[in-house]
Symmetry: C2
Subunit: 500 residues, 2 copies
């Protein structure tokens, strides 16, 4: 009885913090979608103030007291126990940061974001470098404050993927590099596919409608979310009942909007599937970024670049763009949307070369945080790595080290979760096909992906942070992360597309 | 030197509070424009939490200390002194409310807003009544907490228009009722004008473009603001550098969007003209709602329904809607957009009957807060008053007492500021014409309203709360509020339009 009262207090405190954090998310969403340019400075301050307030609330004495009583209490359910223990861990971590540090970080992030925007406009990394250097210093301080066993970068990796370390990722990437390179070589020895029909003119409004149709078909609940335009597609949420995705539209590239939409819908379906009654508590939040990314990848790639999906949806697509696709067959369409070709831009990369983009960023970040690479040397390092690993010449910074927004957000340690997500996705996809008889057939004949969504809701979405990513992966697939699944998936896909 | 340091502390504390308050405004703006329906409940909580936090910050001991030191300090500029004294007044007022009361109010407002939405959908006031009754009780408590000399409604009026009382408003409305009625009788005895060409079909997208064009022409800075759609047009701001207006579009009524846009632009020009360096301080905020409304009205009515304006802009309008307006002459256009006719909906009322809409609401609110009218009796009272004062039969609640959003927001005492705004506008407009030689001519021949905007920036916008509305009015026009200016303005306008 007393514990029940205590747990209620804990929930009240946490929901208040969540209200502030989600308000920050609203301010950020608005910043990326609708903010007029002159509003940027005050917006940066507003975000910094709310971030600081959230931190103050999260490190408040009252919360500490309640948490310490609750960890010693009896009679809590396993779910309640898990919420409390994760929160206490987070509480102790947040205590390591002063409010001044949190505010400084938030302000530096805002300034860096605008410097990055300016640098992109000027197509010159040197506009970004000074702010980025400040941010890297702050991230190094953050790593020291958080603490680590072997590598300072471990402390930052752990923020996005609990338990991830340089040791673990070095192994994952080393394991995959050779088979990936080999597969890539095989594909490159075959005749290249023709994807020219994807580069016709596709009207913006019509693309938007097609994207909304597709999102709805995949199960995105527009009563509990919306889709807007932004420079860089992303998913955010302000509760499981308000999940926002964004996309961008290139009128001369059909692929850009379509698979970014499916990707973000994958993220959004996860958020919409988190338990609303756990709002503000760890069990109401996603497991890890790697698992989040597994959800976007399973929809974008395993489903959305699959033959079955387009057997059903190509005829639908032809009603949106009859002229552009009238003579295109399913087999040719699927080949085109899976075209493998080393390229400059991560977000436009195919499923094979993609991981080399990540590996380059991972190695670069590791060196930056260790201090063995200086910010000013990023462009040269970047360009050399792209030449060496992907064989491409980087013409300018915009197509090189300025392409991604992450560093300007202070997100160091984020990129590796993209690869982890692909690998988890391949494992989940394999298991889903085993668990759901006739899944591929249902997709091909009726476009029904509802069975997969239900499976994911039950196996993944509903748990929130109850399991770690590795525990979850083991529970769902009987194995921990195993990149061999991804290699098998990729080999089977590209062998059938590029022939033997 | 010490005072300078103190003043800086004060500014820092105030800007932090402003950051939270403006964040609430962002959340509310999103609620009215883009929020998906299922997100409403959590959004209500988020707004309540931030409102509570702003109140906690505004009543914090630190701020109290700094303020009390500053009022006793020497060497502050008149501007600084004014900021401090207004803030101290506000501080002492906020201290009268507990956090629990503030949260309760915020939550009740959210619930009332949704009840009002549902009642409108059902077209039945009884869906709104229970929540409204709760809110009225809270507003009565608020009046008691704030204190008043003669009438509890005075306490609420004072929140929107400092110094406004029942005694003052009874006089203002009594003074105007008879001449207004007389003028209305005169107009009604003349032949009615033909405005049928305003009710053709006007494409939504084309209207939006026309509205944006007009806003830009009037001086709205789209780099520091934007226009979106919402069910009810409004203006909000998150700094003077980010001012948002909204509009609604009726494809079968040209007037709806156009004058609501000009109206909101009037509000927005005021906000964009407030001094950015006073962000978060009283001198960075509008004088009063009456003065705010004077800015929307001077643009909407004095400028935007004037003959000169359309001498220049009707030809422009014809390029947007050539078919609809090809045979329309300026004189007929101006008559049509000034058509006088008693009607049901306040926001669509002409400049004469408008004030009867306000008077009905004012008397009703006074009775509600005094306790001489019960919430359940609102529809009957409303309908009887509309019959008596305007001679119209109210067919249902949606066209009657459910038409305005204000009560669901807890805004009792707000409506009278609409009439005060019209009266201040007429005084300012008369003075502007005296001060700016050739203003009318410049508008008619070149569409140039920049001279008026500069005049308003200098005479009104730049001061923020440095003067009260009555002080400002006196400074600008050498007189305090005098509704005779409005009657003169109206008589001259309608005599010329409806003939003698």
């Amino acid at each position: 009885m007393i514990n029940e009262e205590l747990y209620k207090q804990y929930m009240g405190l946490m929901r208040r913090i969540a209200d502030v954090r989600y308000s920050v998310a609203v301010l950020q969403w608005d910043q990326e979608t609708y903010l007029p340019p002159k509003g940027a400075d005050f917006r940066g301050q507003q975000i910094a103030t709310l971030t600081e307030l959230a931190h103050e609330l999260m490190t408040g004495e009252k919360l500490g007291e309640v948490l310490n009583k609750l960890v010693a209490a009896e009679g809590l359910s396993p779910q309640q126990t898990k919420n409390v223990s994760i929160t206490l861990e987070d509480y102790n971590k947040q205590k390591k940061f002063t409010s001044a540090f949190v505010r400084k970080m938030s302000e530096t992030v805002s300034a860096s974001f605008h410097a990055w925007m300016e640098a992109r406009k000027q197509n010159d990394f040197s506009y970004f470098a000074p702010k980025l250097a400040e941010l890297v210093e702050l991230k190094k301080q953050e790593a020291q404050l958080l603490g680590y066993e072997k590598n300072p970068y471990d402390a930052l990796l752990n923020e996005y993927e609990k338990g991830a370390t340089v040791e673990m990722l070095d192994k994952v990437f080393n394991d995959i590099k050779t088979p990936l390179r080999q597969l890539l070589n095989e594909v490159e020895s075959k005749q290249q596919v023709d994807d020219s029909f994807l580069q016709q003119h596709f009207n913006k409004q019509q693309q938007m409608e097609w994207g909304n149709y597709l999102a709805k078909e995949l199960g995105f609940d527009f009563e509990a979310g919306r889709q807007d335009l932004s420079e860089h597609p992303f998913t955010t949420n302000f509760s499981s009942q308000d999940v926002r995705i964004t996309t961008r539209i290139d009128e001369h590239d059909f692929a850009n909007m379509t698979w970014s939409t499916i990707h973000e819908v994958g993220h959004a379906l996860y958020e919409q599937g988190l338990p609303a009654e756990e709002y503000g508590l760890p069990l109401g939040e996603y497991t890890s970024l790697g698992i989040h990314e597994s959800q976007s990848r399973i929809w974008e790639n395993c489903v959305g670049r699959g033959k079955e999906f387009w057997q059903f949806y190509l005829p639908k697509l032809k009603t949106f763009f009859p002229l552009q696709f009238q003579n295109v067959e399913v087999a040719d369409f699927v080949k085109a949307i899976n075209k493998v070709q080393p390229s400059l831009i991560r977000t436009e990369a195919d499923e094979l070369t993609y991981h080399f983009h990540v590996i380059i960023r991972y190695e670069l970040e590791k060196k930056l945080i260790e201090g063995s690479l200086q910010v000013a040397d990023i462009p040269a390092y970047w360009n050399a790595q792209y030449k060496q690993l992907l064989g491409v010449d980087v013409p300018d910074d915009k197509h090189g080290c300025l392409q991604d927004v992450h560093w300007s957000h202070g997100s160091f340690g984020y990129f590796p979760t993209y690869s982890l997500g692909s690998f988890y996705a391949a494992q989940f996809w394999q298991k889903a096909q085993e668990d759901i008889p006739g899944l591929a057939n249902q997709i091909a004949t009726a476009g029904t992906t509802q069975l997969l969504l239900s499976w994911l809701r039950q196996k993944v979405h509903g748990y929130g942070k109850f399991y770690t990513s590795e525990e979850l992966c083991k529970m769902v697939t009987s194995k921990t992360l195993d990149s061999a699944s991804f290699i098998n998936y990729a080999r089977s896909k590209y062998n059938s597309l590029y022939g033997n």
